[in-house]
């Protein structure tokens, strides 16, 4: 019983470890990658709308109030839309079926 509790606690500690590496600062750049290559970099200070259409599918990306989110997508699971708006450095939105990744970065 004691060993079980120790095991479960160490699993939770291991899970939480990446928090140490996260910065809490706001990012102001969103890097959009498709297929592992940078597709476009958007400035979060400017409101914008962008539709990415390729052989995998379609995602409509919106920048509003210094946040970025996927408004609509024609993928099966809709995970990217459900993820909601992101704005902090290091946060990501992923659409695995469309091989799309949006990542917040800080402008150096």
């Amino acid at each position: 019983m004691r060993k079980d509790i120790l095991l479960i606690l160490s699993l939770i500690t291991l899970s939480l470890a990446p928090i140490l590496f996260l910065s809490d600062s706001k990012g102001n750049i969103a890097e959009i990658t498709v297929d592992g290559k940078i597709y476009k970099t958007l400035n979060l200070d400017k409101n914008a709308e962008l539709t990415i259409k390729n052989e995998y599918g379609e995602n409509k990306i919106v920048v509003e109030n210094k946040k970025i989110f996927v408004e609509t997508a024609n993928c099966k699971d809709g995970v990217c839309v459900k993820t909601g708006a992101i704005s902090k450095s290091g946060e990501i939105i992923a659409c695995l079926p469309h091989r799309l990744l949006i990542e917040i970065k800080e402008n150096e």
């Binding site: 899970s15 990501i92 992923a94 091989r99």
Partner: protein
Amino acid sequence: MRRYVILSQIVAFSLALFLLESMIPLPFMAPGAKLGLSQIATVFTLYYFSSRDAFIVLTARAVLSSFFFGGPGVFVYSIIGGLISLCGMIILKRTGKFSCVSVSATGGFLHNLGQLFVASIFMESAKFFYYLPILGVIGVATGIVIGFIANELLKKIKLTKFDNSGTPPYPPLGGGQ
């Protein structure tokens, strides 16, 4: 021969749980977060039968669920997460130091960790580990629940001990055969 009849019943049970889970609306917590109810069958088989049989049940369930409800993309995530999880559970079970519940908790954790690895490789970005805190904890929590359920099943169905050599005296499952 009877071994495979019972194992295929367990696979069917696992698929039913998989389908049942997809019909339960759950609040969106993190990408890929699931209850993993179908793992009840894997954990049960691991303890009731053997590592090899658990491997058969897991693989069959992953192939069939991707065939019916997912697709080739879903299959890769499902099978790799499942195999990493099962390998970890087999190793922990072999040590004989942990209960079914904490072994299953490790399985849940490793399942989600494995899927993050697959996502990182596919999408060529290590950024996915951003989701490890939430997915790892969800994996542990669902693993504990699955472990408890499997444990209860084991208590209820443990009529005769499975003997891996020769013809095992299987308990009647469900009856009517």
